[in-house]
Symmetry: C2
């Protein structure tokens, strides 16, 4: 006999939590569907050389690799690389803009720590253009984040926006060349504070004027309107910078058209996200009052989705929700707003000799779209009710001689204890 | 640059097929849910010693194994072993009968051949009892197969039923001891014919009378009623055999209560399924007129689900649909009855300068539950309609000056070419 257990860093849920998790997943998927995104489903295992085409970085060390015969394989560590591979491979069979969603597990052999899993769900949407992709798509992606979190009952969020072209335009304007290094330094501000960042910038040979300008830039505070006006006032001699600010303004305008509440949006000149990947709008999402959780949904605009697989110029914009981690965090912070609903709405409890009648009743309920089943084991009242309690079914029907004869059933609300006397059709009607 | 491709034996679908595949998956899941089954979601990767606790067999050779540090891992090759592990591990936190469904990918390094995949979906339901489990559950599982295939539009099916206790009772009655070997020989009848089977049985030292009785037994033909009567007439001196026949009769009766059409059921004394696993009712499903496909859904009753992980006696009954293979076969045989539906129901095509109005219209549609999006790229009429055609969207709305002013929109049916002039609310109403 072997002790049943799962791998460290992996997770599985008990039925009650699983049902809530599924509900979250469903809400996310419904929003992706409503926006007309198409699902794709790529293999978990891919050719190692394909999955690691980009090479290098922290991720590669965390990849689960395996071999069978002469084939080197790897488990996907995100859904973006498989998307890039998919779009490049099937380019001629896809329609662009290609709008896809993908909700699936990914694998990373991360250090084992609370709330970090080695197998976890990502819920991604991306819109990929062929050569061009209008910035209205950036606004749409942000609006979908907004809708998803509204529907998850997490209405008090802030979506932080920034624009990489504004950053790079401003760096250029200041005569700063080492963009990536400077971004990496600025990115650390929340963690190490400005004084330490300043030292890093000095190490990068920035002069005091450049550093002062940068400090002013990343410290901009105010309403979105005020920040945008301030951004406009900078670097007026740089057309690239000014163009980026204009685009940013228009994206913010389109967010209004997409029904995003202005209060949920905050322009934040500090954020930059994936340093060597994003090229335009970038965003992160925090739960107000729970900022220590970090970003619960991030993404942005990128210029070269499939550069490792194709010569085509395929710009895109997308976002990802790390659902496993989000679920863990919402639970830990007592923020799960989704109510638990039992897998079955009705449990039919037949007395001795009335199993067949119970089954027939269940068939009527199921045909009416009511999830239900019949208690099949020895009909001991106490045991049956204990079972009903343990699965938290909201309604039971006790079925004995009288009910079978009259075809009238007492539907018992398990929480209130109240009973309704109903016909078969009446049951379906009432429960719908 | 690396050529984008996936591993041999793996599969991924283009959007159109993916949407149909998702629909199939949804129909299956809806039926599982309606019957009050609870979803579980176990890790794809498990400890090797746990997953291979049973050991031996063809499966083990096909398992994808990997190691990271000192940990030996394996990818699941079915959903039954993880269920056994889950139930044993969480025994004290589960309610029995435990009714779970699991729709997920499994991995087998099979020989690469048409329609056989190394990564494929299984859609499983099982009901697991604690110590006991009434045979009405067996009938319920069969009824769910029936409902699923009805809803998949595959109404012309035969579910072949047999009962392992009838087989073993009859073998005992005949004084045959090597049950498994005899079953293995009988199982080959369809492939190699009776004459060859007879030779195998002789090799197992069965005498001519035993062989003659077996031949009669596996050749029984007739209606279910006739076969059951005939089975009753055999081995009357064996209480174990007679009890099994009685149970079989009652299961067939309960199938009627569950609304299963008698015509879809065929008792078949030849079938036995997984030799060392099933212990009671067993079943396979064939599509009438397409029997060469083989069984599209099988399962049965087993006595010891978790014997490798627990001392508990956990009998169960379950079934599995191999969805990836089924999808391939239905497509190949032109049996896909599910109509393709585009990811978006409406595509809004804004004229130059009316993108914002388009977005606002899309927001109204989405709020009304209509999947839709706005064409975001340069509004060239020909290109827009080409895109609409390629994604096979059923409706488009062209939005220009007049529409924006009057807030009245021409909804164009892309197939018929017909147009309806509708208000915003009218659009939602019409499309619902």
């Amino acid at each position: 006999m072997i002790k049943p257990s799962i791998l460290p860093g992996f997770i599985e849920l008990l039925p009650e939590d699983q049902l809530i998790f599924e509900k979250l997943k469903e809400i996310i998927e419904e929003n992706y569907k409503k926006a007309g995104f198409t699902p794709i489903d790529t293999p978990v295992l891919e050719k190692k050389e394909v999955l690691l085409a980009k090479g290098g970085g922290e991720t590669e060390k965390q990849v689960y690799e395996l071999s069978k015969g002469k084939t080197d394989m790897a488990m996907r560590f995100d859904l973006t690389v498989p998307l890039a591979r998919y779009v490049a491979q099937h380019y001629s069979e896809l329609s662009f803009p290609f709008r896809r969603y993908h909700i699936a597990k990914v694998y990373r052999g991360e250090r084992n720590q609370k709330g970090r899993y080695r197998e976890f769900y990502q819920c991604d949407i991306d819109i990929v253009g062929d050569e061009d992709l209008h910035y209205s798509n950036d606004a749409e992606i942000v609006s979908i984040i907004y809708r998803v979190f509204q529907d998850l009952g997490l209405k008090d969020i802030t979506i932080h926006l920034n624009h990489r072209k504004i950053l790079s335009g401003f760096f250029d304007f200041l005569g700063i060349q080492k963009h990536t290094d400077v971004l990496r330094s600025l990115d650390k501000m929340d963690k190490i504070g400005w004084e330490e960042v300043e030292k890093l910038l000095e190490d990068l040979d920035l002069d005091q004027e450049q550093i002062a300008e940068l400090k002013k830039f990343v410290s901009i505070q105010g309403s979105n309107h005020e920040i945008l006006d301030y951004l406009s006032s900078l670097a007026q001699e740089s057309p690239a910078y000014q163009e980026a600010v204009e685009e940013f303004k228009e994206i913010v305008d389109l967010l209004r058209s997409y029904g995003v509440d202005e209060k949920s949006i905050q322009i934040d000149t500090k954020i930059s996200r994936g340093l060597d990947y994003y090229t335009g709008l970038v965003f992160e999402t925090t739960l107000n009052g729970h900022e220590q959780i970090g970003s619960v949904c991030s993404g942005g605009r990128y210029d070269h989705l499939a550069q490792h697989y194709s010569n085509k110029n395929l710009p895109g914009v997308g976002m990802s929700i790390g659902l496993s981690r989000l679920f863990y965090q919402l639970k830990a912070e007592n923020l799960l707003k989704i109510e638990f609903a039992s897998a079955a709405k009705v449990l039919v409890l037949p007395m001795e000799g009335y199993l067949q009648d119970g089954i027939e009743l269940v068939e009527v309920l199921r045909k009416g779209g009511i999830s239900s089943f019949v208690y099949s084991e020895k009909p001991k009242m106490k045991k049956m009710f204990k079972y009903a309690d343990s699965i938290k079914v909201p309604y039971v029907v006790i079925l004995g001689e009288e009910e079978a004869k009259k075809k009238e059933y007492a539907l018992r609300n398990m929480e209130s204890g109240k009973q309704e006397l109903l016909s078969r059709d009446g049951l379906v009607e009432f429960l719908k």
